[in-house]
Amino acid sequence: MKIVVCIKQVPAKDAPLAITDASWIRETDIGYEMNEPDSYALEEALRLKEKHTGEVIALSMGPERVKQTIKEALAKGADRGVHIADDKTHTLDPLGAAKSLAAAIEREKPDLVLTGLQSEDQGFGQTGVLLAELLGRPHATIIMQIEAQGGGLRVKRELEAGWFQWVELPMPAVLTIQSGINKVRYATLKGIMAAKKKEIATITRESLGIKHDPTQRIERIYVPTKTKKTEFLTGTPKEAAAKLLEKLKHEARVL
């Protein structure tokens, strides 16, 4: 089974975010990591390969720094990487970004495309579904289990409020993966060494020749305005704890 996993590099969870030019954050001085659902998608791809043989290709679009995330995927066991080099990925609308990814995927003709269900930076929650439409393939989203059978797949979709549903679909297909589908592995030293010899092909986004007029534009990003007035309790931990219990007893009357 030939699998392309779309992996986005996003600011680290604890990165202090500073808003710069009104529509993006300051990119320097912060750490980056693999988008969490994507690391589960990668793990799932590696498991499918281990079970059914095949190839796992890690695809990431973004500036030079995203190569580091591709390398991490290679160290965990992906066979090769494809980097769509583009310094302006964060300015693309969801459809524009998906068209670029789709063009690179088209060249690989994989049996299966895996994406995370959502990115932790822009959080469009659309890319996988858009890829399916652009590639003309069936899809299923928010997947919590994958079973390959015959030429097709049986997948467990997560629905709201604890409900699930099994869905069958033929391959080639696109699936979006939910966090928690598996236990992700760590890269071993051996894996890290092996990754050094693995190929990362770089294609510039311009060279994909995408024609696209943006469908939407971010005018401004900002720290959200509070809707509720929070009373902050300060002091040493002991003082803050005492103040809180006092408030809960006598003001909120919930204790």
């Binding site: 858009l130 439409e133 069936p138 604890g162 309790l233 803050a240």
Partner: protein, 327 residues
């Protein structure tokens, strides 16, 4: 003046209630922009629902029924809605941001070469232009987003962004128009099977008066007893954000949020939880919310009544100690 189309959601002829929140938003946008508003009911055997919807303030209800729409599939819904859109020519198509909508709405938009602004928490009108507000960076920032290019435009509104009880009733019943769509079995590539729930719930958190919820700030499973002790001292139950259950540190039935339980206890204490919207939708109805987080900008403070900015490993032991003393 626009043509607005609202796509509602039902399953087995039961409403997904978020439909009415988005209806409230759609009615508000329609009133402010002097637009025409129609709502779509799609499925099979859903004429009664169309009738119910017609009682609300709408210009028209479109009833879209077909045997192949009895169970939801992304292909079936996309093909049907393409035909509805071709006939009714909307400028703006609105959806509730449900898991089902996430599964097909971007596809509908893209199949027409159009874009969708997803998961909006609000909108504004400025100089005749509609601005949609959505979250980025897991709620740490908000973004104002506008559509570019020609209509139709597609947008979804997050659960809880608008209040269903603000839906306006109509002066007269809106006309219900049936739209017939062409759909062939071979066009539907996925086969939906039964819906089910995982092994039954061991605890019913919805009944607990007090919940102490832990998030990734708890760092390691060894630290959970610290929070468990606080829950015991308060006479409450332990709950968690999704990553804690994903890791298997606590069972799934303790997960709060869109994919877990929705709770409204009298007291909800969030320890080391950032406040991502998928968590917040499951607990924001709590009477009193306390957040303890070392990041003063954590979005959880947006819904908290009381907040302590600090290290939970210092504050929770202090709370435990004070509660033990008071006993």
């Amino acid at each position: 003046m626009m043509n607005i189309l609202l796509i509602t959601e039902q399953r087995d002829a039961q409403w997904n209630k978020t439909s009415f929140e988005t209806l409230a938003a759609a009615q508000q946008i329609a009133a402010e922009t002097k637009s025409r508003l129609a709502a779509v009911v799609i499925g099979k055997g859903v004429a009664t629902l169309a009738g119910e919807l017609a009682a609300t303030r709408l210009d028209e209800v479109l009833l879209v029924e077909h045997d192949l729409l009895a169970a939801y599939t992304p292909d079936g819904y996309t093909i049907a809605l393409q035909q509805v859109i071709a006939q009714s020519k909307p400028d703006l198509v609105l959806f509730p941001h449900t898991y089902q909508v996430r599964d097909f709405a971007p596809k509908v938009a893209a199949s027409l070469g159009k874009g969708m602004i997803g998961d909006c928490i609000g909108y504004r009108q400025e100089n005749g232009k509609l601005i949609f507000v959505r979250q980025m960076f897991q709620g740490k920032t908000a973004a104002d987003v506008v559509f570019e290019g020609a209509a139709p435009w597609f947008a979804t509104f997050q659960a809880g962004a608008f209040r269903a009880d603000l839906v306006a009733q109509g002066a007269a019943k809106a006309p219900v128009t049936s739209i017939s769509v062409e759909l062939k079995p071979e066009q539907i590539r996925t086969k939906p099977l039964e819906l089910f729930r995982e092994a039954k719930q061991a605890v019913d958190l919805t009944q607990a008066p007090i919940l102490v919820a832990v998030g990734r700030g708890i760092k390691a499973p060894e630290n959970i007893p610290l929070a468990e002790k606080l829950a015991k001292l308060l006479g409450g139950e332990l709950a968690a954000s999704r990553p804690i259950c994903d890791e298997g540190w606590l069972p799934m039935d303790r997960q709060i949020g869109s994919s877990g339980q929705t709770v409204a206890p009298k007291l909800y204490l969030a320890l080391g939880i950032s406040g991502a919207i998928q968590h917040v939708v499951g607990m924001k109805g709590s009477r009193t919310i306390v957040a303890i987080n070392k990041d003063p900008n954590a979005p959880i403070f947006e819904v908290a009544d009381y907040g302590i900015v600090g290290d939970l490993f210092e504050i929770v032991p202090a709370l435990n100690e004070a509660l033990e003393k008071a006993k």
